[in-house]
């Protein structure tokens, strides 16, 4: 037996609560059995471990400012591991490794406007930062949240979104790509980029934080370019299949003309100015 700590050995953790959020997404509240907080930064991820099934990298969806020692993961049912995670209930045990990676540059963002642009499940990693800024509202200037999903029933964090809608201290806007005729939806209909022209961006004083599927990045980045948002003021969170999380297994490497990154160590959050020449990034 190995007496030293193997980087591949997960910690035991317990599921405290499971909330179904949409057809494919559930929110899991988890606490390490050590009783210690996860000590993560907004934007970092963990490897969720189900012995007998495997591991999956999942971004942490709660803010470190959340009360108590638990943390939250919003998990879409999309593969072997996540399909089984969806069958778990309160009190069930899982393994956790991490937190890993570079999260959002919270200190850099302080004292500035922050614009969040989330598409679909992209709201999950962004929520860790959104809730951070809301919990420490006085440390940030204007906060705008643009959130889009395909249809109203795919909207995640419904209770929180309802609060955001009513908050006077933030500017919250939402859209769905399509709304079926028999569904009541008072928000905008159209892809996420249709929300961007309508917002004022203080180019000198804003940071824009974007997360969504690869196709969304292309269109959102184009729209931000037209708004003349400086590239170094845009942050993205990228998805890769990190098998190890510790810079060894090779799966999350992305190449570009001018360099290369390991998403698990150099990211998952990247400055757009740095990754824009990396054609493999998106």
């Amino acid at each position: 037996m190995n007496k030293k700590d193997s980087p591949y050995l997960p910690e035991n953790a317990t599921i405290l609560n499971v909330e179904t959020m949409a057809e494919r997404e559930k929110l899991f509240e988890i606490e390490l059995d050590s009783g210690e907080p996860l000590n993560h930064d907004p934007g970092q991820f963990v490897e969720v471990s189900l012995p007998g099934v495997g591991e999956a990298p999942i971004s942490i969806s709660s803010s470190p400012t959340k009360e108590g020692n638990s943390f939250e993961l919003c998990i879409r049912k999309v593969g072997n591991v996540t399909n089984v995670i969806h069958t778990l209930e309160e009190g069930d045990k899982i393994g956790i490794r991490g937190p890993y990676g570079e999260g959002f540059p919270v200190e850099e963002l302080k004292g500035h406007d922050v614009i969040f642009i989330a598409g679909g499940l992209g709201i999950a990693p962004l929520r860790s930062l959104i809730n951070y800024t809301l919990d420490r509202r006085e440390e940030f200037e204007d906060i705008k949240i643009l959130y889009g999903c395909r249809k109203p029933c795919e909207l995640l964090y419904e209770d929180e979104v309802e609060e955001w809608r009513g908050m006077s201290e933030i500017d919250y806007r939402e859209t769905v790509d399509k709304c079926p005729d028999d569904v009541c939806w008072e928000g905008n209909v159209g892809v996420i980029t249709t929300l961007i022209p309508g917002i004022d961006i203080d180019l000198e004083n804003s940071y824009t934080v974007v997360c969504g599927p690869p196709i969304m990045y292309r269109f959102v980045l184009q729209e931000l370019k037209e708004k003349k948002v400086p590239e170094e003021r845009i942050y993205l969170s990228l998805e890769r299949r990190m098998k190890c999380g510790v810079g060894k297994c090779g799966h999350c490497q992305i190449n570009g003309k001018d360099g290369e990154f390991y998403v698990c160590q150099d990211g998952p959050v990247f400055n757009y100015d740095i990754v824009k020449d990396f054609e493999e990034a998106l």
Partner: protein, 346 residues
């Protein structure tokens, strides 16, 4: 430098096999090729060989190994596992020693990978200078025809005797065994070893037209030339053989294997390859290197630039295994590297 008669060296190896608690492995012939394998007796050892099918990397990073054992009967119990078999490995060529030096850095990088580093630190590496070279090898151009460190002992064949260079205290301890009959080398024997090392540099059929130090720069220039990569990758089978035989490929996949009770099992890592189609695929189905040309380019970028930027080594040692095993014959690094040089912008 020490000298040992070949007969005495054979006796020494036989005594190690019989008495040393470590496994003794070395180069053996297998059909018309060579492999690293456990030695039953010294006469199986073939120190005059061109190249082995697989590099000795397999002893520190096995094709499949357990990282964690788990049990799920009552909650979850997990324990890290490291199955370390200490070994004396005899007959490693300089390019493979260089590859091991590089892998040592990769796995020592924080957080340290003990599954590798403990296997490595409990092994003894006995190198041997090449007497002949593989027709695919270009180790000379990569600066790896000979090596000055990274071994515990280094042998050079001097006809009926071996010259033995001591590279570490572990190597010296091995020689202190009472059954090692040796003497100090005479000046002319030291000179002979130097001559052999100088001559082997020029004994490769394949070579680079330029210094490998230029590779990171050349690859950066060529990165965006999609036609180039498509043309060269056109016949690639995406089989991953070049990854499997490479002494500096270490990417892995991790999978769980339940036993029949379904309540316990092992989490294992196994060799993976960036040339395989699903390597950069994520759960939702998006594949970030879907095209053969992207994967082919990735492999070159990684060998020639990424690992260089991160660890300071060109991660191609010039062994030629990838090209010798490639069925459509598109994996010869000298072909690609020399094209990069030919096409360079000044």
């Amino acid at each position: 430098m020490k000298i040992i008669e070949k007969e005495d060296f054979g006796n020494f190896v036989d005594k190690l096999i019989a008495n040393d608690e470590r496994d003794v492995v070395g180069v053996k012939s297998k059909d018309s090729k060579y492999v690293f394998d456990k030695l039953e007796k010294a006469e199986e050892l073939e120190l005059d060989y061109d190249v082995t099918i697989l590099p000795p990397k397999k002893y520190f990073m096995p094709q499949r190994e357990t990282l964690v054992e788990y049990e799920t009967r009552d909650g979850i119990e997990m324990e890290s596992v490291n199955e370390v078999i200490p070994r004396i490995i005899i007959g490693i060529h300089p390019y493979d020693l260089e590859a091991i030096k590089q892998m040592d850095k990769v796995f020592a990088d924080s957080p340290e990978d003990y599954n590798y580093s403990e296997k490595r630190s409990k092994s003894i590496l006995i190198g041997v200078n090449m007497k002949r070279t593989s027709e695919w090898s270009f180790a000379g151009s990569m600066g790896n025809a000979t090596i000055n460190d990274g071994y515990d002992l280094m042998l050079t064949d001097l006809g009926d005797k071996y010259a033995v260079e001591i590279g570490s205290s572990k190597g010296r301890e091995l020689l202190d065994e009472e059954y090692f009959k040796m003497r100090d080398a005479e000046p002319e024997e030291i000179k002979e070893v130097q001559n052999i090392e100088e001559n082997i540099e020029n004994d490769f059929e394949k070579e680079l037209d330029f210094s490998p130090k230029k590779l990171p720069w050349l690859l950066a220039q060529k990165y965006g030339d999609e036609d180039f990569w498509e043309e060269n990758a056109e016949d690639c089978y995406s089989c991953g053989t070049c990854n499997i035989v490479c002494p500096t490929c270490y990417c892995f996949d991790v999978q769980d294997f339940n036993d029949i009770s379904l309540e316990e099992g092992e989490r294992m890592r196994q060799w993976d390859g960036c040339m395989l189609e699903a390597f950069a695929e994520v759960a939702g189905g998006e594949n970030f290197r879907e095209e053969r040309a992207e994967r082919y380019r990735h492999r070159y970028m990684r060998k020639g630039r990424y690992l260089y930027n991160r660890f300071g080594d060109i991660a191609c040692v010039g062994c030629g295994r990838c090209s010798s095993q490639c069925v459509p014959d598109i994996a010869d690094p000298t072909d690609i590297f020399n094209k990069l040089w030919r096409d360079k912008d000044e």
